[in-house]
Subunit: 497 residues, 2 copies
């Protein structure tokens, strides 16, 4: 065979030997690339990254191969030198976590064995591990339910899609109406569109959380239709948790089913101290849970918890090649009705390894570390004379702030400075900060820098350099924008790096 | 922190060091477990696997953790000793491939860096590698199109879902009608259901392939509605390729859009010798492609190729935290409209590494090996006095056959023997064979054993022991079923292992 070492398999008795040689190339390359990058992301911005990556990676599909080691060395170098690495404390833009080494090592085992979770004869033991893992998640979310269950998904978006799909099928009597807050993740709107449902009714938020009175009015206005209320436990922009007990009561009064998107906040349940923030979650029929955010898993690690296993009936499916009746009767477990996907990765394996490695207390301690760090970071912002924090409580581990110089400008010019600071730090390879629009103390919607603190080990001191990076970049942005001070001049273009 | 080594991160400069220790545990455990298993899957059947796995894995979420090394050693041992390993030549039930070591090693890098493909600031270089990879796939499928494109998906099921979604949006004038063959994968029906479309119209097949005349009649019957024809290039049951040139002509005549599910057959395009079998594919608007089948990638490695990038417009989406207008105008690439997922794994990385390692010729050689092996295996079945092969051509690399003793029984008892043979070999840990219902030479629908040959290195001689395993198990099944000979007695229950 002309394919050389590129054609060696990962499985069987010989596979680990092949993997030893190749993973050694990967790990050496990752280490060298992290040193070469020397920061949270590469400097130079999109054009420079494209140029350097293309030089190492193209042509991606040559006529003749270069061999396994060479391909790995080049492409892993490209992706690692050009990474935004969430293991760097200055990479805090998104719900994009640094994965635990133990979870990544478990991924290696899953990939080498390649079980597919759609039938027993492709995943004998992996199916059992998934069942144990989903049972543990189900019990965590619905501790008092008699038959809770959970599915593994590709992430919060798929969890929300399946939640709306299950609600649509539950609402056999007529088209389901979804009612949610202005703070909800876009995937809820997208799911309604995909499923052919009417666009969700959006109710107002106050301080980034659903206003219960507005929800009550919206549900009253839709009386007679089957209703699904979608609340959020950990909004993307601000980490806010909707008032779940009140929402559950209102939904119950209107006969509405409740779904909670706890993709961000769900893991608070691991911590005895923080779990009370999610009081009311147990009333939800379905809950989006996600361990590639506050769970430090490599993507994908989503889940959907349901209060009762019977709610999953709409997903049941018969395909003779995967779960023929006589095979099921003879005792072969039927795994097919556990997903909207068919072939599926053994994502439960890395979750199970992480759970066993850390235990509930260990995971809870990591969640508490992130929350504590965010509060310390918030206090440092409060104490910084050149920065202003978004007024109000910190949502889970998300801190919104902006340079004070932006407040001295018109709304538009001030927001342009904020956006420019973020892009400058990105382009210079110094920091990966997020952005969010949220109300200031006077109720005006302004653009803020966002720090989503998911690093489970970083000390607050590791994060403080971000503050001076921001103020310095803001000062430069303002000084380079001569026409913007105190005016409505459209500074955004000129400030763009 | 109480979490000990379990809390170490995979990223940064220190991550590779942590991963070296932990992946060493994984690889040692995989090797020992493959030896302990000693075959394609564990012996004992579902109950025994559940017992052994639970003993090593439960409780999955203890109060206190056991540490990273211990958790990995136990759980990787459980999943590997209890695996159905497609790297074993006797594991041939499904489109479930043994992954290449080079692709698995690339997964390790992707998991450690954890880029998320929904924004540039989470995946600077990974986004470029994805773009190069999808461009290569797009060009492979639609070589003469002016602006072909491709998306990365979680597999064939998601590709088919997105294809139907894009067709639904294209059919703005009225509800889309999907017309497909009885041979189509169940995911097409499921996608129509999820998207709120009418159930697909199913046209008859002849020899496992869509009958063009029946398709023409069905489209005529639906004249006036927006139409999508879904054809298959490599059916799950038989590996059959629908007559694509004829189907494309008929679809064109009716103004119907064409989608081809080439999840299995698509990689024939890597081989100059085999690519002509897919003639007509270039006429499809959308094509499901999948590299975790004939592409030896660990799951997930799906793709959807589109003839024109403009077809992807319905997926475009604006979310201020990921692709704000001013960021996009300032040059930050917008990655959000490339998927129905939000957070996404860098699955393109392992594909790109494999492509570069092997080249198109190397991949083509592996595909040719599988096809050649299937034909040699088919000839061995033909030459075996106690076996009968499903009459007709071999579809790609799928061989259907059954023990001749089953033919001496009633239809029902014969099929029960076939099902029992499969379950016996599964339970004894000797072989993982698939099953499929297909017509025999007299047009009767019978149950067959299915060998889907995806092993890129196994020689035909490695596969031949399967034949005697099957005949021996069949003889036992018949001898243990005293009432079944020549009667209609329901033998299935008694024959079940």
């Amino acid at each position: 065979m002309s394919a050389g070492t590129g054609g060696h398999l990962a499985g069987g008795i010989d596979g680990p030997g092949h993997l030893r040689a190749l993973t050694s190339v990967v790990l050496d390359t990752l280490e060298a690339a992290a040193r070469a990058r020397g920061g949270p992301l590469p400097a130079g911005g999109p054009d420079a990254v494209t140029r350097r990556t293309t030089a190492l990676a193209a042509p991606v599909l040559p006529e003749d191969g270069v061999g396994g080691e060479a391909a790995l060395a080049d492409l892993v170098r490209a992706v690692a030198e050009g990474a935004a690495d969430p293991a760097d404390p200055a990479c805090v833009a998104h719900l994009h976590c640094p994965p635990l080494a133990v979870a990544v090592a478990a991924e290696l085992a899953g990939a080498a064995l390649n079980p597919s979770m759609d039938s027993w004869d492709q995943a004998p033991a992996a199916g059992v591990i998934e069942e144990l893992t989903t049972a543990a998640l189900a019990r965590l979310v619905h501790p008092d339910a008699s038959a809770p269950d959970a599915l593994i998904t590709s992430g919060g978006t798929e969890s929300n899609l399946v939640a709306l799909l299950l609600a649509r099928e539950w609402a056999a009597g007529g088209p389901l109406r979804v009612v949610t807050g202005a703070n909800v993740h876009h995937s809820v709107h997208r799911a309604a569109w995909m499923l052919g449902l009417p666009a969700p009714t959006v109710v107002a938020c106050s301080d980034g959380r659903i206003d219960p009175a507005a929800l009550d009015r919206a549900l009253t206005g839709l009386a007679g239709a089957p209703l699904l209320v979608v609340a959020t436990a950990g909004t993307t922009d601000e980490g806010r948790i909707d008032p779940l007990p009140q929402i559950a009561r209102i939904a119950g009064r209107h006969g509405a089913r409740l779904h909670v998107d706890a993709a961000y906040g769900g893991p608070l349940l691991f911590s005895e101290r923080l779990a009370p923030q999610l009081a009311g979650l147990e009333h939800a029929a379905t809950v989006t849970f996600d361990l590639h955010k506050l769970g430090w898993q490599p993507v994908a690690a989503g889940a959907l918890a349901v209060a009762d296993a019977a709610m999953l009936a709409p997903l049941s499916l018969r395909a003779d090649y995967l779960n023929a009746d006589d095979d099921t009767e003879a005792g072969l477990p039927d795994l097919l009705g556990r997903s909207i996907r068919t072939t599926r990765r053994p994502d439960a394996l890395k979750m199970a390894v992480t759970f066993r490695a850390l235990g509930r207390r260990g995971l809870g301690a990591l969640v508490e570390h992130c929350v504590r760090t965010a509060h310390e970071f918030g206090r440092a912002v409060d104490a910084h004379p050149a920065l202003r924090r978004r007024p109000g409580e910190i949502g889970i581990s998300t801190v919104l702030f902006r340079p004070a110089v932006a407040d001295a400008l018109s709304d538009e010019a001030g927001d342009a400075v904020v956006a420019a600071v973020r892009r400058t730090l990105l382009t210079e390879g110094r920091a990966v900060l997020g952005r969010a629009v949220a109300e200031d103390g006077e109720g005006r919607r302004r653009l803020w820098l966002k720090a989503t603190l998911l690093h489970p080990n970083a000390a607050t001191a590791d994060l403080l350099p971000l503050l001076d990076l921001v103020t310095a970049a803001a000062d430069r942005a303002v000084s380079e924008a001569p026409a913007s001070e105190g005016t409505d001049a459209p500074a955004a273009e000129r400030l763009s790096p």
